[in-house]
């Protein structure tokens, strides 16, 4: 099929033959594989436990999935650009705490619930984006590699959260907040539906718009991107700020679930985000990854966690299952690379 619309090169260069075997095309379709893995998990847990296949459990799974997929999508764009963002988990806690202070003050001053919550979400995403901006400035101008730059902000943000709160959650915000976290349509709460909209927007901007094109180009070959006239530093700022923005949004998600801002919210979640991204088929070397893969990766992680608890297995097994999934995904990635890349 590749030959009909292709002009034959005028010299005998090797034509790349489309992979035809079923195995190869299955390997090439990470999303399909992930969907199958997820369905098998759902089936397995449902057979093991009569209560697993229910709206309640699905509601819990999606409530866990919401904040995870938010920060995982931020991690995804960073990883596609050949970077890494270790600060997203700490960002969740810090932005939630700062917003909790703000909302507590507003509530004490007698401001109504809805405007307080709106200001709260604004504070979360502004604080989150600022942490992302600091990451980008450290990378662009202090010339730190992303790993170190975001390790710095991880430490600073999580430390600040604990200092400011003395380790205790900040409560006393608007009363209506926690009500938002209950399922609204089927298993989906209003915040989860917002997350689904965010997923759609991210898909469009990453796969259909110039923002995504530049992100892939920078991760694929930063020199080529710069040589093509792309302002790489400016795009790095956008990428890390967007990742921070999404982490801030996840911070607000946790605030709603808890009814307060806890300094420990999001603790260690950067590793779950990286796991979701890698299981979803992205390559840490950059240039590769899809929103659909990350969404499924996050769904698999949260399904495993809930499922193991419900069927009565020690949930610590989750770590082992996740480790195996990462190993398999990374192996498939390596195989795909060695087969696809003619040179």
């Amino acid at each position: 099929m590749a030959t009909t619309d292709v002009k034959q090169p005028s010299s005998p260069v090797t034509q790349v033959v489309a992979p035809t075997s079923r195995l190869k095309s299955a390997l090439a379709n990470q999303q399909l594989l992930l969907l199958i893995v997820w369905l098998v998990m759902v089936l397995g847990f449902s057979l093991k436990s009569p209560i697993f296949f229910s709206v309640d459990v699905a509601g819990n799974i999606f409530a866990d999935w919401g904040p995870l997929v938010l920060i995982a999508l931020g991690e995804l764009i960073v990883v596609i650009s050949a970077g890494i963002d270790l600060s997203v988990g700490a960002n969740v806690g810090f932005s939630g705490v700062i917003a909790a202070f703000a909302m507590k003050a507003l509530t004490t001053a007698g401001v109504a619930s809805t405007p307080t919550l709106l200001i709260g979400v604004l504070v979360c995403v502004v604080v989150g984006s600022l942490i992302g901006l600091i990451n980008a400035l450290l990378i662009n101008y202090a010339k730190l590699v992303p790993f170190i730059a975001t390790l710095v902000t991880l430490g600073a943000a999580s430390g600040m959260s604990l200092v400011l709160t003395k380790g205790a959650p900040i409560m006393g915000g608007p009363a209506g907040g926690i009500m938002l976290s209950v399922p609204w349509i089927g298993p989906f709460s209003k915040p989860v539906l917002v997350v689904i909209v965010v997923v759609a927007v991210m898909w469009a901007f990453l796969h259909k718009a110039r923002f995504g094109r530049y992100t892939y180009a920078i991760g694929s070959n930063a020199f080529a991107a710069r040589a093509a006239g792309i302002d790489v530093k400016r795009h790095i700022v956008k990428i890390y700020m967007l990742s921070g923005f999404l982490a801030g949004l996840a911070g607000f998600f946790f605030y709603l679930r808890l009814g307060g801002g806890a300094p420990t919210s999001g603790y260690g979640m950067e590793l779950d985000a990286i796991a979701a991204v890698v299981i979803g088929g992205a390559a840490l070397a950059g240039g590769v990854g899809r929103v659909s893969g990350t969404v499924l990766g996050a769904l698999i992680l949260t399904t495993v966690t809930s499922g193991l608890i419900i069927v009565g297995v020690d949930p610590s097994w989750k770590r082992v299952v996740v480790a195996v999934l990462i190993a398999v995904a990374a192996t498939l990635q390596a195989l795909r690379k060695s087969e696809g890349g003619a040179s």
Binding site: A2, D5, V6, K7, Q8, P9, S10, S11, P12, V13, T14, V16, A204, F205, K208, A209, R210, F211, R213, Y216, A217, G219, S220, N221, F223, A224, A225, R226, A227, A228, G229, I230, D231, G287, V288, G340, G341, A342, S343
Partner: protein, 253 residues
């Protein structure tokens, strides 16, 4: 000798140091419209460094760059591209994970009309079609525009890189070893592309170690040795032996 126009691109007394390494040492050269200048020299002579200064990828330590007689300072490749100076770099000019058409349009993406375009959405179909046409027009082998560059052979990649540079250049085109990785026939096509660019009135800087190609396609040859311009003369003054002698330093004036 063919007609040649005004001087379009010029460097005066260009120096470039990388730390202690002096990669370019007081180099000067001129390029006229409709002229092909061959830039030759041993490995490490400073050819790629000169190219990077001319394309805005690196900034010279001192010296001047003039386009159409006006002194310019390229702070990034973007500036040079905007001014009509296109460059094919020796290595890594393409993003391997992106498709052929995405590479051809990299940094100059076409957007959808209306509000979607304002939001940055890409007119992908239109770019695919145009990329195919642009590469076709240049007259070099055209791989499918939807395929990712990593799946192409070395020769096909080079074809895409050349096609992109020629399709966008409006003033000057700089080709750093464009016939690398190519068989004899494909290399012949590249020389033909250079000839066509020259006929369109572009200034072309052609870098190659294949001296017969240089003698065949250029009007003038500039020889670099250890970062210095040691010879700048019409191509008709040289044959392969004398050019080789000048490059290696066996022949000096």
């Amino acid at each position: 000798m063919t007609e040649r126009g005004d001087v379009i691109y010029e460097v005066r007394n260009l120096c470039k140091r990388y730390g202690a390494v002096v990669a370019l040492d007081d180099a000067s050269m001129k390029l006229h419209a409709g002229e092909v200048v061959g830039l030759v020299g041993d490995n490490g002579a400073g050819k790629s460094t000169l190219v990077k200064c001319l394309s805005g990828a690196h900034q010279p330590t001192s010296g001047q760059i003039l386009l159409d007689g006006v002194e310019r300072e390229w702070s990034s490749p973007h500036d040079a591209i905007q001014a009509g100076v296109e460059t094919l770099y020796q290595d890594s000019g393409l993003a391997p994970h992106l498709s052929v058409s995405a590479n051809v349009f990299l940094g100059r993406e076409e957007l959808k009309p209306g509000i979607l375009g304002k939001m940055g959405f890409l007119a992908q179909k239109s770019m695919d079609t145009r990329a195919h046409m642009d590469l076709d027009r240049v007259g070099i082998a055209v791989p499918a525009s939807g395929r990712s560059v990593a799946q192409l052979s070395g020769g096909q990649r080079q074809a895409v890189a050349i096609g992109r540079a020629v399709a966008w250049a409006s003033r000057v085109i700089i080709l750093d070893e464009p016939t690398n990785h190519l068989g004899a026939r494909q290399a012949g096509e590249v020389l033909h592309v250079i000839q066509r660019a020259k006929e369109q009135g572009l200034g072309v800087i052609f870098i190659s170690h294949t001296l017969p190609h240089v003698l065949q396609v250029t009007d003038r040859v500039v020889v670099l040795r250890l970062g210095r311009v040691v010879k700048d003369a019409p191509t008709s003054d040289f044959d392969v032996d004398s050019l080789l002698g000048t490059i290696t330093g066996l022949i000096t004036d």
